[in-house]
Amino acid sequence: MEVHKINTPLILGNKTYKDITDDVTAPIKNKAGKLWWFAFLLSFSAFLAGVGAIVYTISTGIGVWGLNNTVSWAWDITNFVWWIGIGHAGTLISAVLLLFRQKWRLSISRSAEAMTIFAVIQAALFPIIHMGRPWLMHWMFPLPNTYGSLWVNFNSPLLWDVFAISTYFLVSLMFWYVGLIPDFATIRDRAIKPFKKHIYSILSFGWSGKAKHWQRHEEVSLVLAGIATPLVISVHTIVSFDFATSIIPGWHSTIFPPYFVAGAIFSGFAMVQTLIIIMRKVANLKNYITIYHIQMMNKVILVTGSIVGLAYATEIFMAWYSGVELEQYTLINRATGPYWWAYLTMVLFNVLSPQLLWFKNLRSSIVFTFILSIVINIGMWFERFVIIVTSLHRDFLPSSWRMYSPTYVEVLIFIGTLGFFFTLFLLYARTFPIIAQSELKTILKEENSIAKNKQANQSKEIK
């Protein structure tokens, strides 16, 4: 048995199998509280505002954004990378931690995967809006057409993105759904109202829980995890290629793939923290999502945050070591130019603030973790902004140096995606089994005996 197992049970409160079912299905059975409705209406109206801004953009043209000839790519791509990065944590938790047999993933994996899917939806919106004519979206795919069948360009990192993001979305969705089926069946079998029962029996695909079925289920989950792991790394690597394969100083760098992947995990874990800290309180899941879970995630945040810090340092070193004047100027301009405040926010929020997690009492403080998780996500947003805007706004030709600032339309679109994300998440929290309860039941006995041992030890010590 691993060391941590002796001290820290992952499920508290001496639960039984039935308790787990009851606790997980409670939010679905009970009526939504005032707080939920408040949050829902708030995010839904933000969503509507975003829809308005999108319609305005598309019907009037991209000119309503703050872009100019020099900074031709800013707000939308920043948000795209930010959202897709957030999404990565879900896959990481459910796939990579499954391969490493980390049992603490069980109570959070479901919500983390939901977050992945909802975040990828937000991310995908931005390139589609930026197309200007989203109804021609299918032109991104290699479909036969009337232009002599003029094909898409497989040399282009932007096309790689199309394949990466759509594959990632589909695979995450399938991974999530395969895990959900048995839990939907649990809800189906406990539903009392006929309508609800009907809906959940459609969703559960007629799951029966036969021994052979479970065996296949486990095998499929394992293989999916094995495939999703390189996939998630490839996706953010490809996102970083959007920049790294160009020749803009500050982008043209081989460190981008690992740097982006680490940043993605970093921001994604922060977002998971934000969400589950709220959820464990609202849905009363304190016995399943324990301080120990939060600590473990904080450790991941600390490690990935340090990798991100190292990447920033490497960029500085490489600018000096390469001797390339353009790179050096870009770096100095980032830190001390007109966007110095963005750079400072990025360094303070991403490099320095996670270092506080070295302290155990901060690492296990829920309030601190919550604040930190939001701080990190703000920091990671600024990281993308810094990379994108400061590289573009002063490049090779000083006569075309420009500044960029977003218009209200762009801000509204971003707020709209936040609203959309939380709308989806709130709906999910009321209708889906928010904890992978059938998987969690497999470790219940073990965890209960750990809890018992711990109690016995403690009472011995007191004596």
Binding site: T16, Y17, K18, I58, S59, T60, G61, I62, G63, G132, R133, G148, W151, V152, N153, F154, N155, S156, P157, L159, W160, F163, A164, T167, L170, V171, M174, F175, V178, I181, P182, A185, T186, R188, D189, R190, S201, I202, L203, F205, G206, W207, S208, G209, K210, A211, W214, R216, H217, E218, E219, V220, V223, L224, I227, S234, I238, S438, E439, T442
Partner: protein, 362 residues
């Protein structure tokens, strides 16, 4: 009880360990377990009831390989064979040379195929599809209960007692002849009707006449508010005579007069060397091969695929008059259907290609 009747015996347990012990003792008495329903996977159980290990993961391997082949074929067909577009001077005539840029897409397609087909075959094997009737005989088996099922032809008393003794919470016996068999097709009536609707919707569209002219939903981006690039007033022209660094101006005009001038008097400024010829060949194979063909016979891929026609053979019979000067002129400015290559190739590179074209003429 009659001999030829079949009975189903269900034993319900509320603990997985008790369940396994009970199954073991039933097996010792020679009973065969028909099925076990549980709310979560029980690893120890698979050995006890003798489940063979599943081969579902092979479907991922096989479909991943299919994805590999299909994506390689698709990219080869689109980028190399059907319409080799020259974008950014990347090699277009050879899949192997161009391959590194195709790896990301190939990888994603492999993953997509492997996952989609594995999950589909998983659904298929487990008979999971929307609208399927639930398969567990007792609702509690998705909550906290474990159900073991036996099918017997004879006396059920012994097994019922055994189950009760070994800790079953509940034991039920059914006479199978009471139960009505529901056919698979009846079960999936919902699915079939859904499928039919889907097929109808899809097929409705395929043969419909094309909308003419195409609807314009939002005409904003068609009529630009800003000046179109390169139109009058569009941007400040650079000071007259400005050239970019390292650029050698080419004095002859893009006119018929200019063409004739170049033909008559323009001479190659670089030496005829093996190195230049080799460079010229390589560049030719990147920039010209898709139209003019490997041997300069005017049978490039784009001609064979009828994307572009009217490309002359370089041979002395077909183009008797052209000279090194005129070839350089044509590469620089293009001619009719042939575009200018001056932005992709430096003057030296163009001369290197000229050397190779001259060689192809022989």
């Amino acid at each position: 009880m009659k001999k030829d009747e079949t009975y189903i015996v269900h034993g319900l347990f509320n603990d997985d360990d008790v369940l396994i012990n009970s199954i073991k003792s039933a097996q010792e008495k020679g009973f065969k377990v028909k099925e076990v329903y549980s709310p979560f996977p029980i690893h120890k159980l698979n050995d006890v009831i003798g489940l063979k290990s599943t081969r579902i993961s092979y479907s991922a391997l096989i479909s991943g390989l299919v994805g590999l082949l299909l994506s390689v074929w698709m990219i080869w067909y689109m980028m190399i064979f059907d319409w080799p577009q020259n974008i950014g001077g990347k090699p277009i005539a050879s899949f192997i040379k161009a391959m590194p840029a195709f790896v990301p897409v190939i990888f994603e397609i492999i993953v997509l195929f492997a996952v989609v087909f594995m999950v589909i075959s998983y659904f298929f094997k487990n008979k999971l599809f929307p609208g399927n009737k639930k398969g567990n005989p007792d609702v509690r088996t998705t909550d906290n209960m474990f159900l073991v099922e036996f099918i017997l032809n004879n006396d059920t008393k012994q097994i019922v007692e055994l189950l009760k003794d070994t800790g079953a919470v509940e034991v039920k016996v059914f006479n199978v002849s009471d139960k009505k068999e529901i056919k698979f097709w009846q079960k999936s009536a919902e699915i079939i009707s859904l499928l039919m609707i889907a097929i109808t919707i899809i097929s409705c569209n395929s043969n419909a006449p094309k909308r003419n002219p195409a609807d314009v939903f939002m005409p904003d981006m068609y009529k630009s508010v800003a000046y179109e690039p390169y139109s009058e007033n569009s941007m400040l022209k650079p000071v007259l005579g400005t050239i970019k660094r390292g650029f050698m101006p080419y004095e002859i005009d893009n006119t018929l007069q200019g063409y004739n001038n170049a033909l008559a008097s323009l001479k190659m400024p670089i030496k005829q060397t093996a190195f230049n010829l080799k460079q010229g060949k390589e560049l030719y194979n990147i920039y010209c091969i898709s139209c003019h063909g490997k041997n300069g016979d005017g049978n490039g891929k784009l001609v064979l695929n009828e994307k572009i026609l009217g490309i002359p053979e370089y041979s002395k019979t077909k183009l008797p008059n052209i000279t090194e000067g005129s070839i350089f002129h044509v590469i620089t400015y293009g001619k009719n259907m042939m575009g200018s290559h001056s932005s992709q190739l430096t003057a030296t590179e163009r001369w290197q290609i000229v050397q190779y074209v001259l060689k192809l003429r022989e």
